[in-house]
């Protein structure tokens, strides 16, 4: 059973009307031959907002971000970044944005400062301002004391912070981050989250990030768009998205033995909106009334002479939202298809 397949795929409308849009994407399409990687996506990101693009592998997140950052041409539709059309004024857009790619691309043979200095020069930051900017961004990412260190001596988390500093060295207004914490340990990940939150506050940056991590999207993003199969399937605040999933509570229950009847019996309980089988005898029951369902489960087990080995009640998480909107099937097949396209890019 697949929750997403039973639900409407119509995206929820973006919450309040946006006064000034830092990013405006209108019916944007990307085609590789016959394959349509992005299928007419629309959304807006307000000034100073952190906006998350969430989706499984091959959903089209990276393609979207690459179109917005002028890296790949748009097939149809348009994207306005800071009011500038990406297709018509790419250089104006490039001056407005900072981009943190998925891979760590700073030169390992150069020092932290040299990496930043070269990027400042690529953005034509005047010499007088360059030094000041480098000092500021190093302070912001807490790498000041590593200024003269060769990049190859830095840890993965520090290198990611250097990438973030590199994207900020020319004082961009809009910041694009493609999976900024992929490959980092939990401590480094939390450090990056805190840093991004601080940057938002101190620099009033608009950020658009793609991520696989639900917790990251939940903690960082003001609004989240869920992308799947190249279309936008949901767009709302994290709270709004959780509320959109039928069943505000999730009861995880484990029976002492597997039985084909359990699914049907659980579905028949009052307030239950969905049931997902986790493994043998383990079920996630989505319900609009957690306490009532818990009582019913205990009573049902007692009546049938079965034993409940564990039972827990949680609020709906973004994981549930993600699974609800994107389904649970693996996307390997699609990923392979995308890799066979003329441009290898991840979607």
């Amino acid at each position: 059973m697949d929750t997403a397949q039973n639900q409407s795929k119509t995206p929820r409308a973006a919450t309040p009307a946006i006064k000034t849009a830092a990013i405006k994407v209108e019916k944007i399409v990307k085609r590789y031959g016959d394959f349509e990687a992005v299928k007419g996506v629309d959304f807006e990101v307000a000034d100073g907002e952190i906006f998350g693009l969430l989706g499984p592998n091959g959903a089209g997140k990276s393609t979207l971000i690459r179109m917005m950052t002028t890296l790949i041409p748009i097939t149809a539709g348009r994207a306005l970044i800071g009011g500038r059309d990406v297709s018509k004024e790419p250089n104006a857009v490039r001056n407005l944005i900072g981009v943190i790619p998925q891979a760590l691309t700073s030169d390992i043979d150069l020092t932290v400062e040299e990496n930043l200095s070269i990027y400042a020069k690529l953005y034509s930051v005047p010499r007088a301002i360059r030094e000041k900017n480098i000092a500021e961004v190093l302070e912001a990412v807490d790498l000041t004391k590593w200024r003269g260190a060769q990049t190859k001596t830095l840890s993965g988390g520090m290198r990611r912070r250097l990438e973030i500093a590199r994207g900020l060295v020319h004082n961009p207004q809009i910041f694009f981050l493609d999976e900024p914490t992929t490959g980092l340990d939990p401590v480094s990940r939390i450090a990056v989250w805190e840093m991004l939150n601080n940057l938002k506050k101190t620099r009033n940056l608009t950020m658009l990030l793609t991520t696989h991590y639900m917790e990251e999207a939940d903690r960082l993003c003001d609004r989240i768009a869920i992308v799947d199969h190249g279309t936008l399937v949901a767009l709302d605040t994290p709270v709004g998205l959780k509320q959109s999933v039928p069943g505000s509570d999730v009861v995880e229950v484990r029976f002492n033995r597997e039985d084909d009847q359990w699914m049907e019996r659980l579905r028949a309980l009052a307030s239950v909106t969905d049931v997902q089988s986790q493994s043998a005898g383990v079920y996630r029951v989505l319900t609009s009334n957690g306490s009532q369902t818990t009582t019913q489960l205990v009573e049902m087990a007692s009546r049938l002479g079965e034993q409940l080995t564990s039972l827990s009640v949680q609020n709906t998480s973004l994981d549930d939202v993600f699974v609800h909107y994107t389904g649970r099937q693996l996307r390997d097949e699609q990923v392979k298809h995308v890799f066979s396209m003329p441009r290898k890019g991840e979607m």
Binding site: T70, I72, R94, V99, A103, D107, L110, K121
Partner: protein
Amino acid sequence: MNRFLAIVEREMRKFFRSPMLMIMSMMLPLVQLLVLGHAYGGHIQGAKIAVVDQDRGPQAVKVHEAFDSVAVNIATFTTIPYTDEYTAREDVRTGKVDAAVIIPPQYSRRVYANDAPRIALVVDNSDQVMSGALEGEMQSLVDALNQPVIPDRVVKQVALQIVELYPYVEYMKYLLAGSITLAMYISVMIGGGMLYIDDKARGVHEGYLVTPISKLELVMGLNFAGAIKAVLAGICLTAIGSLMAGLGIIFNPLADLYLLLLILGTSIAFNGMMFLMMVRVDDPLVPRAMFGVLNTLLFFPSGAISPVSAFPKWLQCIAVVDPFTYAVHGLKSILLKDGGFVSIQWDLLYLFVFGFGTLLIATPLFKRTL
């Protein structure tokens, strides 16, 4: 301009931080110069020749004396007396000796009777170098034997008088021009081709493409940096190689200027060629796979190790378009002959036109997007 210089700065900082590129680009040409220069440059010495004397007359003794003279002077070969022709021939076949000389019965009598006297030389012609050298040596020995004891007062024979324009050129010196060119090629192949594709695959270019740098600034920056690396490799190998080969021309400032011009032209030509070949390549395996093929296809037909005129027509066609040919010719003209600007003007023209021409074709092919 700032952006172009930023690309150059990045490439050069990486280059100087990682001296392996410089070392690797000079290692093969230097080893080649050292090994091939010595291997092919010297005279054959100490070859073993079996001598079967079936005559034992006074004229045969003269032949033995001539052999002894060779053995103690230029030492091209030493002789080993054999008693029968069959064993001598078998020993040439099995490699125990390098050749066999058969002085037939009645040799002395035929010499005195002017009755077409002959000496046989049995050689292993599967080894062209050895058999050629021994044939040459024996021929000059026989010519000496043919000289009359009392020379004619009026010489009627046509003689060839050879005038050598330059001092004797050892093979190592001959090879130096090719080695310098090869060092620049390797520098461009590794520092330009392979690192360029590796950077692309690592996403470094993605970082450049989101900045406002123009296509021309990026192409020029990458190629200018590549040319500097190749020029440095060329200068280093010219200096080290000239000292190794004993060429004093590098102490002539005007010759140095011409050499620098040739090195610059060669670097631009090689960079342009490499950029054109790699401009649409994404797979890091491609330049690695092409390295050996290109090396063979461009280096050997260029006249670096043997003259172009000795090649078959199809190889000569490759040599005509191959920038290696002009680089090698130009460098030889200065290093070996001190030929001045006139001797290298067409080489320079071809190298610069080829370099800028290939860059001109490659630039529009370079994609400003992924």
